[in-house]
Amino acid sequence: MRSSPVDLEILAQRFSAVVEEMAENIRRTSFSVFVKQTADFGTCLVTPEGEVFAAPRRISGNLMIGIPARAAIASLAPYRPGDIGLSNDPDATGGLVTHLPDLWTWAPLYADGEVIAYAFSFVHSSDIGGSVPGSIDWGHTDIHQEGVLVPPVRLVDAGEPDRGVLDLVTRNTRVPDQNRGDIEAQVAGLRTAQRRLDEIVASFGVRAVRDAMADLLDTAERRAGDMLGDLDDGTYRFVDYIEGVDGTGDDGTPRVEVPPVRLSLELTVRGRTAHLSFAGTSPQVLEAVNLHTGDEPGHYMLAFALVNWIYSHDRGVPYNSGLVRPLSALLPEGSVLNPGPGAPCGVRAAVFFRVMDLVVACLAQARPESAMATGAGAVAIAAISYTGADGRPRVSVGQPLTGGSGGRPGRDGLHGTSYMGGWLRNVPNEVLEDEVPVLVEEYRYRRGSGGDGAWRGGDGLVVSLRCLEDGVTFAVRGLERMALQPWGVNGGEPGQGTRATLNPGGPGERDLGRVGTVRLRAGDLLRIETPGGGGLGDPADRGRDAAGPHAPAGGTRFSLGPAREAADDRWPQGVQRRLVDAVNERVPAAGRPRAYRDLYLALDRAAGAGRVTDALLDTALAAALGEPSGAAGATTTGDAR
């Protein structure tokens, strides 16, 4: 280490004070409901090489470890003191931005006339323009529907604010004043960072500051390496999905309308490193769930589960991008995890959450004695809107639809919330009922929905709303795990999946699937049940010493639930993988989303009630793409039953 152990700790504290102060400035002065209610904003300090060396821990929704900052930094280089950059462009920032409502700003920080670091911050704006209020919709098929795109631009040029840029950006949104306020709050935060860094440099000198930055990253890297080194070397695999949309054909039989998004992880632990291969992941999709990662192996939305895992086991670890240095990754180009330019991305959080499940599942195999089951795997935000007789529109953000967490070694899962969206606050039901004409008939735990196990999954929530007047619209995005249940581990049962029902038990009872938007009439009852977490360990071991952490005989086992088992039976994993590979290999990038969907739907229909076989796949591929050039793709894998 370059620094003394004392200077290192003191400077770590001082850096932390800078990012926490920036964060509090933003929290206090920004307008956005996302900042106030969900803490969806962040701040950090970055080295000139683009690594985060300080990030706040008190801001719960803060996802800063592993942000790819290099592209944004390079985009406006060279800098002058007082410059501030702004962008919300995923492509131009190399995956720093992952969806358009996140307005990122950054500034070079100078000491002795040289740039020694950069300060970054973002705020999730309530609206950034585009086709729908709030700018986020699962059905967007083109990034231009998602709002105004701001390529990296100097918002402040050597201390001179460019009012034109600010006007241009804010004028293209539905809440210009709020956005102006949020951006100004960020500018103030970035300026504070320079002032505080000046104080630190004055007390400790540039050399000590540079040394501490490097040492903090090295320390985090070393401790992450230590933890990875404790895992058994090996390769661990898991596949999970964002669910598609099932409908019914003209003849009334069920059929797939939107295919599920396949997410595949092969985690290879070797020594003190981990390689995450996402080969086999769906090509990018037409829906707005694509996750722009900029091909960055330690991207914050890929590494979050691993970072959490390290932090939870070693609370004293420096919280910086050194933690993701031991990671390498294969992110197939043009896949949903590394999509091409212009891929719609508003609801990318769904993929982010499912990647966490994949990582947790692979870790469960890498260290079976500390395996965890997965939680609800989804966070849905509901909006209830209503236009009264007075013509005044009202919108209320309903209860966050989070579910239970999975069973943990030595502990049951938490009820009603999990590490995905655990930062969300609910709305007092009294306020909700005062804003929109609904009666909340139930807001309670969904008893028994957590998977049974030695350590049970936490229960989900039940939210029942009785509509009191006609003309209430309920819109929800982010519901997942309707069919594919949160899985259990090592004998633990899966948790119950999401269920959204209109008029349960009544004459007009209807399953609403992942809902989207539903219009309610006076008297209607809408009930949403969120998933319970998966259970961990054999229920028979509950309360016994045997329930303590121990490696299960025969390796880690997952209980995926009947729907997933049936799906795997009908669509064998080998066939799924071949379909993904074939599209990637044989279709030009621009055509893959459509080709993958068309092929998937054609195969699903061709199989009817039967199984999707290699032979069917070969036929479909030949019909759609012609005979493959080179080696034949149809190496049957014994799934000819």
Binding site: P5, Q13, E20, T29, M372, P428, E430, E442, Y443
Partner: protein, 689 residues
């Protein structure tokens, strides 16, 4: 013959010590005492301490005109969950109200987070079918038989008190009242706490917690206070008796059952609030109204940031429970004199988060502690003086401190002195790192502020923290060890009341709403023993947001302004610009609650120090600075006359605390015997000015 002089008594019962301050309100002269607290019978320590102070001062009990008491009994009862087993009656469909809370996890990235611990066991919850809608329409009537059956059932299973929380009870309390009557009819002696009666504010979870805490603590607090009152009367005190509240004020000790429940929830955070009240009096008397209080004990530093007015929060917490009753806003920093010093796995020097607490405490206290603490580091650095520490009540063995720190020094490869100083520097950096965002939250820069240091360790650490924060000055009050007790006797009578905002909000409805609240506050004042608190001041405020927003701002109606929608809008626009830096525009106002705060202040002279008439002795001493031993001096605080000025490095010892003045700082004793410490460059600027 002139009447015998009259005196006032303030008492603060803490975990370790019970402090007593006796004041002469005409001269401002103070006398104080500290006696060990008695956990089994707190009143015993109070009585013996009071008797000792009176005897020493030659004051008869009947000369005491006022007694005010701060206690941690209620808070400890909640933290230990040792009060009544509470049953909850709640609206059907919400059996998990207290468990779900506001949903948010304290640390959402901790995979091993513990679940929230509901103050009512799941099996002690009964759902009640009565229901009203937001506009007060009765969806289902209250069924008294259903409620009575639920109460019977709960009592039979061992429940000792009942809390009632129904949706919209704050605005439509009839069902809660009827439920209470139904319970009392069958169980007349059972404490029954209604959310609507105690704190009628929107937000069912937080309001419900108020009711549950009242039910949990009420009867126990009543027993405690009854006993104390009997003992004090037996001692001969015949004056009005008061109790300190979380809002920094006091209230008379009253017997009526509803008032006991109210007192139970209004006094929970009174300890730190009294400290801030005492610090605020001291700071204002010293001419500053922008200061940060710094109360440093064994496990934490409690801070309040006072930018003009003492800050109030309606979002306080007790452990993991929220408290929405207005309380002096005090934030805790997790480092104290007992924080453990260690070198972590990566070889980095850390202070805390573990603390040796009061027991075993620092190694230097010779109570069996072997792990090095921050106090041990102070001792090794010479920032404490073993020959004059806590009046000899606690030993301070620098040798034991050195032995405890030796392994840390070995791990760092430094001398023990260097290791000790490094630990202090790390602690300072931690406090700085936590205090800076607190200041940012409130939009203040600590640069222009004074640090008011008290508590056992505050004055040792304060100048070092001031240097990191670049604050203007450190103020160490004359009696920093008994500031809470002083605050208790010097503070105002104060009450806060709340009501849902009227619908619709018009000039007339605002006038009426605030009038009703003011009438309630004045009725409260009339029921107090208020002879010594004649000057009443009423503040009207409201929780306001723009329609469609979900975060209210507290809006104070300026004194003298006529209540009107226009006046509220003007005040809102000002507050809005301050909070968000943008104009609120023409959007409709959404007023959620109206509030009234009533304060009635007492008249008391500020105390002035008497000069001792001789120059203070400067005893040679050594401290560690910059890794090296340096010549310093020790001064005995009681011998310091007003006007005494000295430069650091210096250590000032006193019966209740030790003050460290580092190199680069100058200390001056002011006319009130407060110690004012400034960095020399600031000092020189001031002198030139």
């Amino acid at each position: 013959m002139t009447p015998a002089p009259r005196y006032r008594l303030g008492v603060d019962v803490g975990g370790t010590f019970t402090d007593i301050v006796l004041a002469d309100p005409r001269t401002g002269d103070l006398r104080s005492a500290k006696v060990p607290s008695d956990a089994d019978n707190p009143a015993r320590a109070v009585v013996s301490g009071v008797r000792a102070v009176l005897d020493e001062a030659g004051v008869r009990p009947d000369q005491v005109e006022y007694f005010s008491h701060g206690q941690t009994f209620a808070l400890n009862t909640v933290l230990q969950r040792s009060g009544a087993r509470v049953g909850l009656l709640v609206t059907r469909g919400f059996p998990d109200l207290l468990d779900i809370g506001r949903l948010r996890l304290e640390d959402p990235i901790d995979l091993f987070a513990e679940p929230r611990r509901s103050p009512v066991a799941r099996e002690d919850v009964r759902e009640v079918s009565a229901r009203v809608s937001a506009d007060g329409r009765e969806v289902r009537p209250l069924d008294a038989a259903e409620v009575a059956a639920a109460a019977d059932d709960l009592v039979a299973s061992g429940v000792e008190a009942i809390a009632v929380v129904f949706l919209h009870g704050h605005r439509h309390p009839a069902h809660e009242r009827a439920a209470r009557e139904a319970v009392l009819k069958a169980h007349p002696d059972l404490p029954v706490a209604c959310s609507s009666a105690l704190w009628p504010e929107e937000r069912e979870y937080e309001r419900g917690i108020v009711a549950v805490l009242a039910a949990h603590v009420g009867r126990a607090l009543e027993g405690y206070l009854d006993h104390l009152v009997r003992e004090l009367r037996a001692l001969g005190l015949d004056c009005p008796l008061h109790i300190t509240k979380s809002n920094g004020g006091v209230a008379s000790i009253v017997h009526e059952p509803g008032e006991v429940l109210r007192a139970a929830v209004e006094t929970l955070l009174s300890g730190p609030a009294s400290g801030v009240a005492g610090a605020a009096r001291t700071a204002r008397a010293a001419g500053t109204d922008r200061f940060i209080t710094m109360d440093m004990g064994g496990t934490s530093v409690d801070c309040a940031i006072v930018d003009g007015a003492v800050p109030y929060s309606t979002e306080s917490s007790l452990g993991d429970l929220p408290l929405i009753i207005p309380s002096v806003e005090v934030s805790s920093i997790g480092a104290g004199g007992g924080s453990i010093v260690r070198v972590d796995a990566a070889g980095v020097l850390k202070v805390g988060p573990r603390s040796a607490g009061a027991f075993p405490g620092p190694a230097a206290y010779l109570r069996g502690g072997t792990e090095p603490t921050l106090t041990d580091a102070y001792a090794v650095c010479g920032y404490l003086d073993p020959s004059d520490f806590a009046e000899g009540g606690v030993p301070l063995d620098a040798g034991a401190a050195r032995r405890a720190l030796a392994p840390v020094a070995a791990a760092l490869g430094t001398s023990v002195e260097e290791a000790a100083e490094a630990a202090v520097a790390v602690a300072t950096a931690m406090m700085h790192a936590q205090l800076v965002p607190m200041c940012a939250q409130r939009g203040v820069d600590p640069g222009g502020f004074t640090l008011v240091a008290y508590g056992g360790a505050g004055p040792v650490q304060a100048a070092l923290l001031a240097r990191a924060l670049n604050t203007a000055e450190v103020l160490v009050p004359a009696s920093p060890g008994t500031l809470c007790a002083y605050g208790a006797l010097a503070t105002d009578l104060r009450t806060d009341v709340v009501a849902p905002a009227p619908r619709p909000v018009t000039d007339a409805s605002l006038v009426r709403g605030w009038e009703e609240l003011e009438a309630r506050a004045r009725a409260w004042y009339a029921a107090q023993e208020n002879a010594l608190h004649p000057s009443v001041h009423v503040t009207r405020w409201a929780d306001v947001q723009l329609e469609g927003q979900s975060f209210t701002l507290p809006i104070v109606l300026p004194d003298g302004a006529e209540p009107s929608v226009g006046a509220l809008r003007t005040a809102f626009a000002r507050a809005y610009r301050k909070a968000y830096s943008v104009d609120p525009g023409e959007g409709a106002l959404d007023v959620r609650s109206l509030r009234v705060g009533l304060t009635a202040s007492s008249r008391m002279a500020g105390h002035t120090a008497a000069g001792t008439g001789r120059a203070a002795e400067r005893i040679p001493h050594r401290v560690v600075e910059g890794g090296e031993p340096r010549e310093a001096v020790v001064l005995r605080r009681p011998s310091l006359a007003p006007g005494t000025r000295f430069r650091g490095p210096a250590v000032v010892t006193a019966p209740d605390t030790t003050v460290y003045v580092p190199s680069g700082f100058t200390a001056v004793v002011d006319g009130a015997a407060d110690l004012r410490i400034r960095a020399n460059d600031r000092e020189e600027r001031t002198e030139r000015a």
